[in-house]
Each structure stands twice: as structure tokens, then as C-alpha cells.
Symmetry: C2
Amino acid sequence: MMNFAEFKKIVNLHIKSNSQDAFIENRKDIRVKKEKTVVKNLERIFDATLKIGNEKGFHAMSMRDLSEETGLSMGALYAYFTSKENLLVMLQKNGRDSFQQVLEQSVDKDDSPLENLRTVVKTHLFMSEAMQPRFYFTYMEGKNLNKSEKKIAVEHELNSDGIMTKILIQGEQQKIFKSGHHALTTALIKAMLNDWYLKRWKYAKLNVSVDEFADYLLDVVEAFCLIQSQTEG
Amino acid sequence: MMNFAEFKKIVNLHIKSNSQDAFIENRKDIRVKKEKTVVKNLERIFDATLKIGNEKGFHAMSMRDLSEETGLSMGALYAYFTSKENLLVMLQKNGRDSFQQVLEQSVDKDDSPLENLRTVVKTHLFMSEAMQPRFYFTYMEGKNLNKSEKKIAVEHELNSDGIMTKILIQGEQQKIFKSGHHALTTALIKAMLNDWYLKRWKYAKLNVSVDEFADYLLDVVEAFCLIQSQTEG
DNA sequence: GTCTATACACAGATAGAC
DNA sequence: GTCTATCTGTGTATAGAC
């Protein structure tokens, strides 16, 4: 089964196109018109925002901090977004969409629910590993969004939970998984998945690799969900 | 076995003494000297800080916001702490200590590892339920602490993880629990426990009570940890 | 012990030169 | 397309009256 190294090769192209997507979606708000310049600088701006924001919080990051980290002047920065809040929204949107897409595409109707469960768990985990700063940022800065953006974020989460819950239900119908409160099971699995990028320092200290974490997490999940012990790994 | 209602009766006294503890520990920095006044106003200040801070983040909360919410003037506020950062540190310290104490006391050497595991999980969960705003705040605002305070926070977490890991090891020694990476198991259990106060909206939507959550979480944990299926609940 | 008034540093944002 | 210089609001914190 897929490990992180293989996963990364496959989706790297997708991930790298992040700031290009952002350019297309925010064309009207971006004063600079040369695509190549925008993509390059937007990437610098995003990276710097994630770095500073994850250290001390987005709100505590000043535009002067951002100017220093990116090497762009304050004036130049405002050619790429209309306001600090606009920058926050761009960053959040941008991450969510590619995540949702990759997750949905990972499910295969012809696979067994067990296979799909494993795939979805690993896909979620590996994406968060490949884009750790972004996932961390999205989680921690969610409450700084305005009401309507917050609502969108919640909908995305419920949507992504739905993918997993659906698999659990199918598993029960096919008598592979036990019956249970599947939405609650999903919530618990998500909680464990999120911990990987939220408490990175802890797993580093325990010297656990992302592949080991994936296998261990799946052991836990399968011990609870599977009707009888099957071949593992 | 203990449910939330019973738990709350037992520890309520402990929880209510929070601002009194804070008064004793921060005497030197508090300009007001009448204990009764300090305890009353400190509680108002803490509650207001948790409320506003959890809505939009501690850094985004201005002292004018806090003044309005507490009904105290800016000048009066600064009689209870020396700076905004000092207020943050007071709040964080204050919560941690009583948590650690209650958790450690909940373990009983004469009980079986299984009993102790259940007790520790429920104690952690029920404390977070009884003091949800404080737990949420501590989690989300951890990165705003300075280096030395951050270090203390990490130590507390490792310490509390240690309590659970120890129980898992004992369980293995007594041939009740499976062998495994016990520290990793603990991390996963903690992740699920934390989710209860971090994603409250989700569990509210699912209409899951704290007691139901406790039982379900323990089912998951026991399915993974126990050597063979034993009587549950 | 609490208030009002204010100091003054720093934030986000923009104008206009290059 | 990027820069420097600057406007203006808001932030934390304090002084001094009551």
C-alpha cells in the first residue's frame, strides 16, 4: 500500500500550483498583471505569512514583519492583496480547495470499504504532512475569519467528514464493519489525524515517522471498526 | 462508573477557587490589596478574557474590549495585572495547576489498569467539559506565550501524557493490555479527548452528550488496548 | 480602589516618485 | 512593478484626580 514518499511524488504537481490557482481566482484584486511575477511573489508572501503566522499568530504579524520576511516593501505587498484580511481569506481558500479535490478523487467506488478507509486516512494524513504549515495555519486561524468565511470552512469540514462516514456506512452494509455511530467514529479519526500536524513536536520527540503513524492509526481504527480481525497492513 | 453530573459535584469546589489561587500566586503584581475585591474582579477579568479571547483571539482583544466586558475602567484593570502578557500568563498557569492535580489524584494504585485508564480518560474529559473555555483558550493561545512559558506548558503536557502511558505499561505487564507503542497510544487518546473541547460545535451538531462521548471513546480505546474482549461499560 | 484623560508607539493602508 | 514617505486610527499603558 501507498507510503508517504510515493504519495508526495504523485501530488507534488498539484501542490506546487497553489499560488497559480490563487492568481487566477484573485485576478481582480491583484494590481500586478504579469502572471510570472505574481506567482513568484505570491508564493513568497504565502510562505512568509505561514511562517510568521504560525510562530506568533496572524493577527500579531505586522505588515512590516511581512515586508521584512518577503523582501518586498509595504507598498509592493499591497499590490498583491487589498487588505490584511483579504490575504488571510486568500490563504485559507487556497488550501481548502486542493485538499477537498485530492481527498474526493482518492476514493474508488470499485475498492472495498476497508481499502477506501485506508486510502482516505492516508491521503488526509499525507496531505497534512506535505503542507503542514498550511494545515496548522488553517486550523489555528479559523476563528479570525469573518462570519461567512467561517461558515464556508465549517461546510468544507462537514463535507470531508461525510466522505469518511459514507465509507463506514458502506462497510457496515457489506458486513465488513461493525455497526456504530459512524459520524462520531469519523470525528474521532479526524481528531487523531489532525493531531499529527497540530502537535508535530510531540511526534518528533517520540521519533515516529508519518508512515509509522499512519499504520498505527489504522490499527486503532480497524481494531474498532472491523467485525473480525483480518489481515493487517 | 462515574458520569459527568457526579464528577461535577465532586470537583466544583476545586474549580471555583481558581481566582483565589491566582490572587495568592500573583500577590506581588496585584496593586489592590483587599482579597475579597481581588477574587471578585479577577474572576470577572478571567471570564471576560476567555469569552473575548475565544471569539477573536487574545491578541485581537484590546484592553478597551476587556474594559467594556468587565465593566472596569482601563486604569482599574491595570491594578490587577502588570501588562497584557502578564494577564495571559496568569490565565494559563492558573488552569494548568488544578488540572494536573485533579488528574494525578484520580489514579488509584489499588485499582486495575483498566479501571485507572477509564478513570483518567473520564477525568480529563469531564474537566475539559466543566472548564471548556479555559481549555480551549489554553490550547489556542499557547503559541502566544514567551519561550520559557511555552517550555513549562510542554512539560505539563508530557507530564500528563506520562500518567496515561504508565497505566498502559502496567496493563501490558499484567497481561490485560496488548503490547504496543504506549506513548503513541496515549498521544492518540489525548488527541481524541482534546477534540471534545476544540470542536464543540461538531459534537453539538451530532447531538452527542459528554457521557456518550466518554463511553464511545473508551470503546475505541479498549478495542485497541485490551487483549481480549471483556465486559464493557 | 476606581475613574478620566492622555502619552506615545505602532498598526494598516495609501500617495506619488521612480 | 516597486520604492520611500507619510496619513490616520488604534493599541498598550500610565498619571493624577476623586
